[in-house]
Structure formats: C-alpha cells, structure tokens
C-alpha cells in the first residue's frame, strides 16, 4: 500500500498536519524537537498510510532524532514525500527539498502560510522545481486535503535525480559522519571537508535564491525582535519572570483552583459514591472480605488518587500553554549560560520542564540533544524533576502537617529536585559523560496565540491517560497491595488468623534500613516499594494500610496509632525521599531502551543513595530545629557552611600550590 512521509524542517507543523490527515492525537508544540520518533497511521481521507517524521534541516543528521528521519527516508525509497515548508523561512526550508529532489524522490511541496507578509508565486515555484506545490492556511485544512488527494494520484517527473551513491559520497566529502558510516569511509575530517561543505551549501543556496527571485518571493515585513521579547529576554528580567511564572503555576495548581476542584471531587467519590456503594453491598449481604476489598482496596486506594485528577490536569494544561506559546525556546536562551556551567545546554530545558509533567515522556525528548553524552546526561536528570505522579504525596502528607504553608514546602521540594539535578549533572561532567563540545544553535520560533482547542484536547488527553493509568496499573496494584496486606504467608485472612501479613513481614525486614530517615514503620517502607511501579501508589497504599478514605487520610497519618504515621520531621524526610528515590517502572523501561542497561542501573543506585543521604539530612535538620529552635539551627548551618567552604578552599589551594611547585 502507498505511504506518504511528512518531512520538513523542525517546527513547521508536521505533526499538526499528520493529526489532521489521520485523526490521531500526536503531541505537538511550538518548539523544535517535540517529535522524536516516527509515527505511522492510516489516513482515510488520503486512503493510504501517513508517517510523521521528526524535523530535520537537511539530509545531514545532527542528532539522534534527525537520524531517525534520514534512516526512514533513505530506507523507504518508493514512498511519496510531503515536504512541509513554512513561508517565513522558505529559503532554508527549500534546502531540504532540493536534496530530496536530488535523490529522485517523489515530492509534493506544501507551503504552510504562517506569515501573511510574504508574497510568492506558487505556480512558478512548482514549474521551476518540477514538483507539485500546494499551500496550507490555518483555516483551510479541508480544501487542502481535497487538493492533496488530486495531487497524490499523479506522479512527478523527476529530472534532477542524481545517482544515490554520488549523493552519499558528496555528503561524506562534506564531512557528514552518517554517510561515512553508510559508505564505510574511515578517513579523518580534513581541511578539504570544510571547503567542500561550504561550496556544497553555498551552491545550493545560490540555486534557491535564483528560484525564489523568479517566483517573486518577497518578505514585506521582516521578523525582527518582538516587543514581548524585549521584556522576556531582558537579561535582568528573564529569570525573575520565569520564577514568577512557575510560582503562579504552582499556586493555581496546588492551591486556589486545583485544591478547590480536588476537594470537591474527593467528597463526591468517597463520601457520596463510595459510601452509597459500600452500603449497597452491606444490604445485599456480600461477604465481609469483598466489602473490605472494595472499601479499603478500591475506594480508599484508587479514590484517593482520582481526586488529584484536577491538579494533574491543570499542571499539564499549564505545561502545554508554555510549550505552545514559544516561551520554552526563550527560556532555553536565558538559561543556557547557567546550564553551560554544569555541562548542559539550553536545549536540555525542554526535557527538564517536561519532567515536571511525566519523567517517561521527558526522558524520550532527550533524543533531540546533539550528542550521545548530552542525551544520556539529560535523560538521567529528568527523574529529579518532580513529576505529576508525586503531586498527591506532597498534597496529602505536606497538607496534613504544614497546612497553608505547604505551598512553600512544595515549592522547596521542586527547587530541591532542580538543585540535585544540576549537582548530578556537575558530577556526571567528571565521568565519561563529560560533554565533548558544547554547542547550542537553536532556532527561535515566533510567538503563537494559544489555541484553546489544542489546550483542551491536550488536557483531555492527559486526563484520559491519567484515568487509564488509574483504571489499569494503579487499580491492579491497589488490589495487590491490599491482598498482600491482608493475607499471611499461609494465605489466610490476617484479621481472623492473627498472623502477620506478607507485606508486614517484608516491610519489617527492610524497615531498620529506614530508621535513620525517621520513618521506619513497615507501612511507609512498603508504600515506597509499591511506589516503584507508579508513584501515585504511595498515597493509595498509605490509605489502604491506615484503612481510611482520602478525606480522613490527613488525620490518620498524624495519629500515632495508625500503621503509617509521621511527625513533621519524618513527613518532610518522607517527601524528600519520595522526590528522589527511584524512577518509576515505565521510566526505567524507557531508560533501558534509550540509554542502555548500565546507565539505567546507575540511575537506580545513584538516586537511591542521594535520596537516602538527603532524607537523613532533612530529618536530622528538622529534629535539631525541634530541639534547639530555628535560630540555633540556622546559626549551626551557617557555621557548617563556612567550615565546608573553608575545607574546600583549603584543599583547592593546596592542590594549586602543589601544581605550581611541580610546574616550576
């Protein structure tokens, strides 16, 4: 069956077009490198398969995701190519198109008219390039598809085709490693490559310029720097603006709107639906064991997490707004200076911000890094960003102990995650993951109006995915946790046999390890073990262990009689441990595929060690504060800081002296 590949420069709207053609819901955004792998789906409108490929500037790949595209294009020689270009940067976009034509591919040129201040004669362009050309405006997708149907039936006559091997050789001479590997050429990059490359691209651009002149391509108003950029990119304002945006998102998600919706949903699920359903089961004389499973295992466990749906959805909605607007590229520009010092680049910002949503998707976006080391490093850092699944833990435990001050505690936890990620990156710079050569060349997308339709669709998608996760993994796990908590090793119901449950035995075996962290109860330890599968399960497990509904969970963890209970110090230590201790199973699976088993194991061990040390530190700090007061603790910390700084300074200066002596 026929197949159409959607190819084009990054951020030209390929995934949006793919979604329109196939009715799929592939993630789109106003940042280059959102699509990192290919997606194939059947299009009923075109009656063929359509493939959405990651963006690329030319057929010389510069990152892993570009290699995916080039691989696909070169290995599917008979597929039609739909080359999507935007009229704002048509000159650069045509560079890729001319290469595709040169390879003899059947190409249809689609011009996305994002800029109205540009004139172009499409007919002349089609004649000159010998390809079918069609334009795409934001509102005329239906007309466009009709046009495409007609074009798709006809084959282009290719007259620019050159020998494929000659094309590869040309690229290899330009110093492109990808084609060198393909042709098994091992020579080193020489001065000759630079001259050849410059000539090759300059000749192409000269051809393109002549074509565009012939087609009356005129830019009536240049892109320039927008008024918003003058404020957002101001060197003194950019960081405060970013912090203000983050704080606003936290406030709306965790408190005002998010909390209101969450509290009402919790009331609806547990106090109305849950209570009535359990009552119904009692009236129908269902066995106690089953009632207990439904009440404690399902309504307490799963219900607790469902009530966080509004907060999770709000967080994803804000992330989508940031992504759509084009702000993330600006942020990459502002933060590159700081990230360079820890061996990262501004490009990592996208992965790190996405980490606030979901670590699994974030680690996949690391593919758009320019070299392998940067990709592995960025992926390894993504789990330190506090993902949305940890949100219920902070809301429940933090809310029980810190009340309205919890906003500060949550903000501090998010900041701690970022700091640890940056320190980890600094540490990885000392390993073989040290960045070879730091480059940061990135295109700035124009600001886009936030599309309400896009935001709602994305928000709905994240809500569906959250509910599906709850309905599958979390429901199953909550039942397993309840069974393990209520069954002994001899498979008898513990309430009747009086024996210890399986989970209690396992939890008690491991609990001494967590004594220095302040939460040595078997319930807390078991919750962490269950949380490795999905972080949401930590809260549902606590609700199951304490045998309470989510509205009573906050009171139960304060009460010393509960299975899982905390003091303010141990609660804080518990939250820090939860923030850092281990990526969830799906992230680990992605890690294994993307960065290999060795680095996946490194991630598990290093995160556990870091979480253990920092939790212990937090617990000790809180204990000291409880005993000696806030002022004494602060003074002690300052003194400790000065001692540490002096020690580092002393050892550094000693090494320098030694070095100088040696050098002399």
């Amino acid at each position: 069956m026929d197949e159409i590949l959607i190819v084009g420069n990054p951020n030209t709207g390929k995934s949006t077009l793919f979604n329109s053609l196939t009715k799929q819901k592939v993630h789109t955004g106003n940042f280059h490198g959102v699509t990192v792998s290919y997606t194939k789906a059947f299009s009923k409108t075109l009656n063929c398969y359509v493939v959405d490929l990651p963006g690329l500037y030319s057929l010389s790949p510069n990152s892993y995701e570009e290699e995916v595209s080039v691989d696909y294009i070169l290995s599917h020689k008979n597929s039609k190519i739909l080359c999507l270009c935007n009229n704002q940067t048509l000159r650069r976009n045509l560079l890729l198109l001319t290469e595709l034509i040169e390879l003899g591919r059947d190409v249809i040129l689609v011009i996305n008219e994002i800029d109205k201040n540009i004139t172009l004669d499409y007919k002349k362009l089609g004649e000159k390039l010998n390809v079918k050309v069609t334009s795409l405006k934001a509102n005329n997708i239906k007309t466009f598809i009709e046009l495409l149907k007609i074009i798709n039936k006809k084959n282009n006559k290719i007259n620019l085709k050159i020998n494929e091997n000659d094309f590869y050789l040309n690229k290899a001479k330009c110093g492109c490693d990808y084609y060198k590997k393909l042709l098994k050429i091992n020579d080193k990059i020489s001065e000759q490559n630079h001259i050849y490359l410059e000539k090759y691209i300059k000749t192409k651009y000269n051809q393109i310029d002549k074509i565009l002149k012939y087609c009356n391509y005129k830019i009536l108003k240049t892109i320039g720097k927008s008024k918003i950029d003058k404020i957002i990119l101001n060197k003194y304002l950019c960081i405060p603006i970013f912090i203000a945006i983050l704080l606003l998102i936290f406030y709306l998600t965790f408190f005002s709107v998010g909390k209101f919706l969450s509290d009402n949903l919790r009331y609806l699920i547990q106090d109305i639906i849950g209570a009535k359903f359990v009552n119904f089961l009692y009236l129908n004389k269902v066995p106690d064991f089953l009632i207990c499973l439904v009440k404690d295992g399902i309504f307490s466990g799963v219900g607790t997490i469902i009530s966080f749906l509004p907060q999770v959805v709000l967080l994803f909605m804000f992330l989508d707004i940031l992504e759509q607007s084009g702000y993330i590229s600006r942020l990459a520009f502002c933060l590159d200076d700081a990230l360079k010092n820890v061996g990262l680049s501004g490009r990592s910002v996208y992965t790190l911000i996405m980490g606030f949503g979901c670590s699994t998707t974030a680690s996949l976006t690391a593919r758009n890094m320019s070299d392998e080391n940067a990709k592995v490093k960025t992926a390894l850092l993504s789990p330190y960003m506090s993902c949305s699944a940890k949100l219920p833990v902070y809301a429940v435990i933090g809310g029980a102990f810190f009340g309205t001050q919890n906003v500060v505690i949550i903000a501090l936890l998010y900041i701690l995650g970022v700091i640890v990620a940056l320190l980890m990156s600094l540490f990885l710079e000392k390993t073989k993951l040290a960045s070879k050569q730091q480059t940061f060349i990135m295109e700035f997308p124009s600001y886009q109006k936030i599309s309400l339709k896009h935001t709602l669709s994305f928000t709905f998608q994240s809500a569906t995915s959250f509910l599906t996760r709850i309905g599958s993994v979390i429901l199953a796990l909550s039942i397993v946790v309840w069974l393990l908590q209520n069954l002994s090793f001899s498979l008898t119901y513990v309430k009747f046999s009086g024996q210890k449950s399986i989970l209690q035995v396992l939890g008690e075996f491991l609990s001494p390890l967590f004594y220095p962290l302040g939460f040595s109860s078997w319930g807390a330890v078991s919750a962490f073990i269950a949380g490795i599968v999905a972080k949401e399960v930590i809260v549902s497990s606590i609700a199951i262990f304490n045998g309470v509904t989510s509205s009573a969970i906050s009171n139960s963890i304060i009460a010393a009689t509960s299975v899982v209970h905390f003091t303010p110090a141990s609660a804080m230590s518990f939250m820090v441990f939860c923030l850092l201790y281990c990526p969830c199973i799906s992230t680990l699976a992605t890690f294994k595929k993307e960065i290999g088993t060795k680095w996946t194991l490194f991630s598990i061990i290093s995160q556990f060690v870091i979480a253990y040390i920092l939790s212990m530190f937090t617990f000790t700090l809180f204990k000291i504060t409880e005993l000696f007061g806030f002022l004494t603790t602060t003074i002690c910390l300052v003194i400790l800081g000065i001692i540490l700084y002096s020690l580092i300074y002393f050892f550094k200066s000693k090494r320098c002296c030694h070095c100088k002596r040696k050098c002399k």
Binding site: T222, C334, F440, M442
Partner: protein, 78 residues
C-alpha cells in the same frame, strides 16, 4: 573595512558575513551553513544573555540563538 567576530559586534547594527572559520567542528559548521551563515549574508545581533554567553541573531528572516563559541567563528564586517 574592519573585520569583527560576531560575538564582538554592536547590538542592533547590521553586518555582512565575511567568513566562517575552520576552527569549529564540521557538525557545527554544517548547522551554521544550513541556517544561512555564509559569506555575503546580512546578520544582526539582537540580544545577549546576562553573562553574554548566548547571542540572539537575525539572519535570512529567522531568529537563531547561538553560543559565544560558535559566534566567534563567524567573521563579519560593516
């Protein structure tokens, strides 16, 4: 006419690219050339980050951000 490196130019003033040095790796040079950084092209630096480590440049109706390292390989005059 006096030549400058792109990272040393006055913000907001238009310059013409004279040359791209060979001192950078070929991958970076490829990307710069693909973005249109080659002799004869007009270029204008619009902004610099706080530590002046990153530049925001307009070239061929596109805004590109690049580091000082990369910018120091682009020789301009004007």
């Amino acid at each position: 006419m006096k030549n400058f490196f792109l990272n040393e130019v006055i913000i907001g003033k238009e310059y013409t690219i004279a040359n791209i040095c060979n001192g950078i790796d070929i991958k970076t040079k490829t990307r710069l050339l693909e973005f249109g950084f080659f002799p004869g092209q007009k270029v204008c630096v619009y902004n610099k980050s706080l530590k002046k480590g990153v530049l925001l440049v307009e070239i061929s109706n596109q805004m590109i951000s690049l580091r000082k390292n990369e910018a120091s390989c682009v020789v301009v005059y004007g």
